[in-house]
C-alpha cells in the first residue's frame, strides 16, 4: 500500500475516441482512489464508459488525458516489456462474456496465462486445479466451456483472472447473463478475492451489487430533477456554450441571436447539424436521459440564451411529454 492507504489513484482522467465517424467522450475529468482489500463498483448505464475505464485500468486503452497509478506503476505510461509484465502479473480481468477459449478445458483456460508468465508443466496444472477448487469447480476441470453453465464459466473466468495472483482484479458486468443463484456465488467470490488483499474493480449496471461495494463510482451523468432559477448566458459570436461530450444539466432557449449545433467528427472536422434561432430551444436530451452532450453548441452571432432544468423547461416553457423531447431535435 502506498500514500495514505491508496493503491489505485486515477487523476483527471478523460477518454475520448472515434466511433461511427464522430468523437465520443464517455469519461471526462474522472478522479478515483482505492486500496487493496476494497471492492470498487463502477456503476452506470450502457455506454457511460464503465468498460472503457476498465480497459484503461487494464492498460489496454490509453486515455486522452489524465493518469492512472497502481502501486508505484504509472499505468498510463506503460510500454513494451513493462506493459506486458503489468498485464501478466499485476492485473487480472474477468470479461463480460467470459471469453474462455472454447477448445480448451476449464483447467487449460486457467493454465494459459500462467504459461505466458513462465509457469508451465505440473506446477501450472496443480495451481490451475487449486484455483478451480477455490471457485468450486474441482470436478469440472476437464470440461470445456461449452459443457459448463453460465455461472460455471464465470467462475472459470474468475479463476483465470487469478492465475498469476494479481493484486488488481477487474470484472466487467460479472453478473450479466447469470441467474440469481449464480449471481450469489459470483458475489461471494468477488468478496473473497478482495478480502484476500486484492483490489477488485467491478463494472456493472446492476445496482443490486451496491451492498457489496466499498466505493461506488457513478458514471452516469447526474440528472437534475430539482427546480432552480433559470441561467441567462450572453455569448459573443463564436463563443462556446457547451462541448460535445460534456455532461448536460440544462435545456436552453435562444432569447436573441443564433446558436450553431455542430458535431465533431473523428477526422477533426465539424458537421453543422442545425442553427437554432431566436425562440428556439436545444439541449433537452442530455439532461432528460442522463447522457452526455452529443454535439457542441456555439454562438453563430452575438446571442443570449436562458438555461432551464428539465422540470422548469416543461413547466414554464414547453409543456409536453417525454416523447416530444425525443422527437424534437435535442442534445
Amino acid at each position: 500500500m502506498t500514500r495514505s492507504g491508496v493503491d489505485l489513484e486515477v487523476r483527471e482522467l478523460t477518454i475520448e475516441y472515434t466511433s461511427g465517424g464522430y468523437v465520443v467522450r464517455p469519461i471526462q475529468g474522472l478522479g478515483l482512489e482505492a486500496a487493496r482489500g476494497e471492492i470498487v463498483l463502477l456503476l452506470g448505464a450502457s455506454g457511460c464508459g464503465k468498460t472503457t475505464l476498465l480497459s484503461v485500468l487494464a492498460a489496454i486503452l490509453t486515455p486522452t488525458a489524465g493518469r492512472v497509478r497502481f502501486d508505484d506503476i504509472d499505468v498510463t505510461g506503460l510500454r513494451g516489456a513493462t506493459l506486458t509484465r503489468y498485464r501478466r502479473h499485476t492485473v487480472g480481468v474477468v470479461f463480460q462474456a467470459f471469453n474462455l477459449v472454447p477448445s480448451l478445458t476449464a483447467r487449460e483456460n486457467v493454465q494459459v496465462p500462467m504459461g505466458t508468465a513462465g509457469l508451465s508443466g505440473r506446477p501450472a496444472r496443480q495451481r490451475a486445479e487449486s484455483l478451480l477448487a477455490e471457485v468450486g469447480l474441482a470436478t469440472r476441470a476437464r470440461h470445456r466451456p461449452g459443457d459448463l453453465s453460465g455461472g460455471e464459466q464465470q467462475r472459470v473466468a474468475i479463476a483465470r483472472a487469478l492465475a498469476n495472483d494479481p493484486p488488481l482484479v477487474l470484472a466487467d458486468e460479472s453478473t450479466a447473463h447469470l441467474d440469481y443463484i449464480q449471481v450469489d456465488g459470483v458475489l461471494r467470490l468477488l468478496r473473497q478475492i478482495a478480502d484476500a488483499g486484492r483490489l477488485v474493480v467491478v463494472a456493472t449496471h446492476d445496482d443490486r451489487m451496491l451492498p457489496l461495494a466499498d466505493r461506488v463510482v457513478n458514471l452516469t451523468p447526474r440528472r437534475d430533477t430539482e427546480s432552480r432559477p433559470p441561467e441567462t448566458v450572453t455569448l459573443d459570436d463564436g463563443d462556446l456554450l457547451f462541448d460535445q461530450g460534456d455532461t448536460g444539466e440544462l435545456v436552453y432557449v435562444v432569447d436573441r441571436g443564433a446558436i450553431d449545433i455542430v458535431r465533431r467528427q473523428g477526422d477533426g472536422s465539424e458537421e453543422l447539424l442545425t442553427t437554432v434561432v431566436e425562440g428556439g430551444y436545444f439541449g433537452e436530451l442530455a439532461p432528460t436521459f442522463g447522457l452526455r452532450r452529443s454535439a457542441t453548441a456555439r454562438a453563430a452571432a452575438s446571442s443570449t440564451v436562458t438555461g432551464y432544468t428539465v422540470r422548469d423547461f416543461r413547466d414554464r416553457v414547453r409543456p409536453g411529454t417525454l416523447a416530444d423531447a425525443v422527437t424534437d431535435q435535442g442534445l
Binding site: 487494464a58 489496454i60 506486458t84 477459449v101 477448445s103 487449460e108 493454465q111 496465462p113 504459461g115 505466458t116
Partner: protein
C-alpha cells in the same frame, strides 16, 4: 501457446481433416506431375546412355539420330570404323511403328548389332539374330511372347526397364536386319552410327554429335509438354498453399476474440504467431505426408511413368511448409493487429 494451438486443431478436427486431405490431393497431383516431368528427362538420359557411345554419327542435315531419321549406306559405318581414333562403330536403324500386344501400341524400334544394349537387359538376354526383340517393360510383353512387327513375327528374348522416349513410348531393340526390313525393304542402310573412341574427322556430309547434344535434341519434342507441366505445378502449388493459407486465415478470423483475450492477459505477439506458424506447419506437413502416400500408391497405376525421387519426397514437406507460411502471412498479420480491447467488447 503450443497447447492452445494443438487443442484448436483438435477442436476443428473435421475441418482440419478435410483441409489436409484436399491439400494432400493437390500436393499428390503436383508430385505425380513432377514425377512425370522427371521421367521425360530421365528416359532421354537412360536411352541415350544405353548405347555407351562416345559420339553419334549422323547425316549433316539431321538434328539428331532419334528425331530426324535420314538413311545412309551402311558401308559408311564400316569406313568410319576404320578411321583413326575409332575403336568401334556400329550401325543403328531408328524408326517408329506399332505392335499389337494387348492392343495396338506405338513403339520406337531401334535396330542394333548384337551386344550393344546387353548391359541394360534386366531379364533374358540381348538380341542375337533376326526374329528376336528386347522390349521395354512398359510394353507389357514377357519373355517368350511373340507378336508381329512389320511383315515379320518376333519373339521377346529380353526386357529392359525405362528405355523409352517420346513421353514413355516403349522401345523395341531388334537386329539391324529386321529394322532395315521394316524401314527400307531390307536395303543395307543405317540412320546413325554409334561411335566408340574419337573420330578425328567425320565423312563428308556427316557430323558427330556428343551424347549431350543427342539428349538435348531428343528432349526437344517434349519441351512444351514439360513447360506446361511446370506451369501446372506452379498453379497447383498456389492452390495447395491457398487451401492451407485460407484454413489458417479462417482460424484467425474465428479466434480473433481469443487472441484479444490472450493479448489482454499478457501473451506476446510472437507467442501467438508461433502458435499459428505451428498450425500452418502441422497442416502443410500432414498434407505432404498424405500427398506422398497417395502419390506412391497412385503412381504405378498411371499409364505414364512418374519417377518421384527420394530428394523430391524429402523436399516436398519443406517447400510445402515454406509456401504455406507465405500463404498464411495475411492471417499472421491480422493476428498481430488484433486489438486486445476486443476482449472487452
Amino acid at each position: 501457446m503450443w497447447l492452445v494451438t494443438l487443442r484448436d486443431l483438435q477442436w476443428r478436427r473435421w475441418r482440419v481433416l478435410i483441409g489436409v486431405v484436399a491439400a494432400g490431393l493437390v500436393f499428390a497431383i503436383t508430385l505425380l506431375l513432377t514425377g512425370m516431368s522427371s521421367s521425360f528427362h530421365n528416359e532421354v538420359g537412360r536411352t541415350v546412355g544405353a548405347f555407351r557411345a562416345d559420339g553419334w554419327l549422323v547425316p549433316g542435315r539431321t538434328s539428331g539420330p532419334f528425331t530426324s531419321v535420314r538413311a545412309f549406306p551402311e558401308s559408311v559405318v564400316d569406313d568410319v570404323a576404320r578411321g583413326e581414333g575409332v575403336r568401334e562403330a556400329s550401325p543403328v536403324v531408328i524408326t517408329a511403328s506399332t505392335v499389337d500386344v494387348s492392343g495396338v501400341t506405338s513403339v520406337n524400334v531401334i535396330g542394333v548389332e548384337s551386344g550393344v544394349i546387353d548391359a541394360d537387359v534386366v531379364d533374358g538376354r540381348g538380341v542375337r539374330r533376326s526374329g528376336e526383340v528386347v522390349a521395354d517393360g512398359s510394353l507389357g510383353a514377357h519373355l517368350g511372347d511373340r507378336f508381329e512387327l512389320g511383315d515379320g513375327r518376333i519373339e521377346v528374348v529380353g526386357t529392359v526397364d525405362g528405355l523409352t522416349y517420346f513421353a514413355g513410348t516403349p522401345t523395341l531393340f531388334v537386329s539391324v536386319g529386321d529394322a532395315q526390313a521394316l524401314t527400307s525393304a531390307g536395303q543395307p542402310v543405317a540412320t546413325a552410327a554409334v561411335v566408340r573412341g574419337e573420330l578425328a574427322s567425320p565423312p563428308r556430309g556427316f557430323k558427330v554429335l556428343t551424347n549431350a547434344e543427342v539428349e538435348a535434341d531428343l528432349a526437344r519434342p517434349l519441351r512444351k509438354a514439360t513447360q506446361t507441366i511446370d506451369f501446372m505445378k506452379v498453379l497447383l502449388w498456389l492452390v495447395a498453399a491457398g487451401i492451407v493459407g485460407s484454413m489458417v486465415y479462417l482460424s484467425v478470423l474465428e479466434r480473433t476474440r481469443d487472441f484479444a483475450v490472450l493479448k489482454a492477459t499478457g501473451a506476446a505477439n510472437r507467442a501467438l504467431l508461433g502458435g499459428l506458424v505451428l498450425q500452418a506447419v502441422v497442416l502443410a506437413g500432414a498434407a505432404s505426408l498424405v500427398a506422398e502416400v497417395l502419390a506412391l500408391a497412385l503412381g504405378p497405376a498411371l499409364a505414364m511413368r512418374a519417377e518421384i525421387s527420394g530428394f523430391t519426397l524429402v523436399t516436398l514437406p519443406l517447400v510445402a511448409v515454406a509456401v504455406s507460411l507465405l500463404a498464411s502471412a495475411v492471417g499472421l498479420r491480422r493476428t498481430v493487429s488484433t486489438d486486445p480491447a476486443l476482449a472487452f467488447s
